[in-house]
């Protein structure tokens, strides 16, 4: 048997020099399978990806996502800097509101995608990808001709994601914060499990849920108390494996897969975070030109019709030639189908088109499917 991991950015070998979150010992004690991800040793699964995925869709799951980076921008010119380096319009954010955005290259491709939280009038808090944190920080500092105070505060925070339809019920047991008042993509100062931190109603699973940023020294008690509080609702710890399949069903992009230095925001279907009516930003010109002249490739969803699982980088065939590649592919545990995201030329991108995915030398039938694959029904 020869294992080929890496399909979802997950490798099997745990090297010595990996960074560890404050919950590393707790994960090992819980029997987690640990893997390398973005320079970190992280839990890929505890009880199994299927069970964890289904728990998040039907009840709740708790993820340690402390590997994610946090960068703070402060000062009277913090907003000006942010407006210049990101594609979304941060001036529209009220204090305690958050938005999905991207740090831009001049080419219209992205340095990283991120969530921007406005914690104060002149105080912004960016949650960025673990593997990109240093690159992002250096990029921001390099373009800080605005006299903003930029700090990489990643080591000041643990981050837990409590996700699923029962997340609010569970969290209500360990906080006095009025969760009904905390709307989707809003953030507040909150005390959870006796620990103060930033509580955001955000996530990467396609479910309702919360992300809590708090001091790493408090990680174990918060983790244990949340798991205990959620036990009656069926809360279980969930790893990066389920996080990946959940985000894929919800068709959320993952940097290094759907997003990279070669792919523009428009090609990735993220035109909705390109705000051309705000002041100039890095990449604006390239994006406008592409809007006028057309994109080179387009992100599409696919569903396998024949037997086989589409995996990352597998070739996509249309009209007897390779026209693109799968960017993320997997069995979808909730939908119980084999699904994928892929880039194809825009002229082929219409939903329903019959395509083929090349799997170990054989072409297997698939068709283009509407995105997202999964969308929760909101109450």
């Amino acid at each position: 048997m020869e294992l080929h991991f890496g399909a979802n950015g997950v490798a099997t070998q745990v090297k010595v020099a990996l960074k560890r979150t404050a919950l590393n010992a707790a994960h090992n004690a819980a029997g987690a399978k640990m893997v390398e991800f973005g320079g970190w040793e992280m839990p890929v699964e505890y009880s199994g990806i299927m069970q964890e995925h289904l728990a998040v869709r039907t009840r709740a799951g708790l993820f340690d996502v402390s590997h994610m980076g946090e960068i703070e921008l402060r000062g009277r010119q913090a907003l000006s800097l942010l407006q210049y380096i990101t594609s979304n319009d941060a001036s529209r954010l009220k204090v305690c509101q958050a938005q999905y955005s991207a740090l831009m290259y001049p080419s219209g491709s992205v340095v990283d995608d991120c969530v921007v939280h406005r914690l104060g009038e002149d105080h912004f808090f960016l949650c960025v990808n673990a593997a990109n944190t240093d690159k992002d920080f250096d990029w921001i500092v390099e373009h800080n001709s605005f006299d903003a105070d930029v700090r990489n505060v990643s080591s000041d925070y643990s981050q837990l994601a409590l996700q699923g339809p029962r997340a609010a019920d569970i969290l209500a047991k360990v906080t006095d914060t009025d969760l009904a008042a905390l709307k989707y993509y809003w953030v507040c100062r909150a005390t959870c499990c006796g620990v103060e931190g930033w509580l955001a109603r955000t996530g990467y699973t396609g479910e309702d849920g919360f992300e809590f940023y708090f001091p790493p020294t408090e990680s174990e008690p918060v983790w244990e108390k949340l798991l205990a509080a959620g036990k009656p609702e069926g809360l279980i710890p969930a790893g990066l494996g389920a996080r990946n399949t959940l985000r894929l069903e919800a068709a959320y992009p993952l940097y290094g897969h759907e997003l990279d230095e070669e792919t523009t925001l428009l090609e990735a279907g993220l035109g909705w975070i390109c705000k051309f009516d705000k002041e100039d930003f890095i990449g604006r010109e390239a994006l406008l030109a592409q809007k006028q002249h057309g994109i080179r490739k387009k992100l599409v969803g696919l569903e396998m019709a024949g037997r086989g699982i589409a995996r990352d980088a597998y070739p996509v065939w249309i009209d007897n030639r390779v026209v693109g590649r799968v960017s993320s592919g997997s069995y979808a545990p909730y939908l119980k189908k084999n699904i994928g995201l892929a880039y194809v030329p825009p002229e082929y991108a219409e939903t329903g088109r019959e395509i083929q995915v090349e799997i170990r030398g054989s072409r297997v039938a698939a068709r283009l499917a509407p995105l997202p694959f999964y969308k929760r029904s909101r109450a």
Binding site: M1, E2, H4
Partner: protein, 138 residues
């Protein structure tokens, strides 16, 4: 990782094992082949199996099929050379059986051995468990 403690009976003594984590049970000229408990644990939830057809030939140390979990693709290597006489077709619709019963009902293929001497190079259960322990130490 399975616990490789003192229980000793995790790996059935009547099977022979490869370093690639396949097993074979030899009954006279027929060998039944599957993947080990260690292999299924490493893979996680198995969701797809691709196997050859009866009549196809397999060669020792060469791949004959694929087992996929949610997150990983794994090729399976044959411990022996020979002709396939049976394929466990139940796995096509229920690949998760490999997680539940890797050394029993979830066998993958049966092969008529071409060269009985090939099995002499395989590990006993005891040797395989020692091999796993050694691997875990690295």
């Amino acid at each position: 990782m399975p616990e490789l403690g003192d229980e000793g009976l995790m790996y059935p003594p009547e099977l022979l094992y490869t370093k690639d984590h396949e097993w074979i049970r030899v009954d006279e000229s027929i060998g039944t082949i599957g993947i080990t408990d260690y292999a299924q644990q490493q893979l996680g939830d198995i969701v797809f199996v691709e196997l050859p057809k009866p009549g196809d030939h397999v060669t020792a140390k060469e791949t004959f099929g694929t087992v996929e979990s949610v997150k990983a693709v794994s090729e399976v290597y044959s411990p022996v050379t020979g002709e396939i006489v049976a394929v466990n077709s139940k796995l096509q619709d229920a690949p998760e059986k490999i997680n539940a019963d890797p050394h029993g009902n979830a066998w993958l293929i049966r092969v008529r051995l071409a060269d009985h001497h090939e099995i002499e190079a395989l590990m006993t259960a005891e040797q395989y468990q020692a091999y796993l322990k050694e691997e875990a130490g690295h």
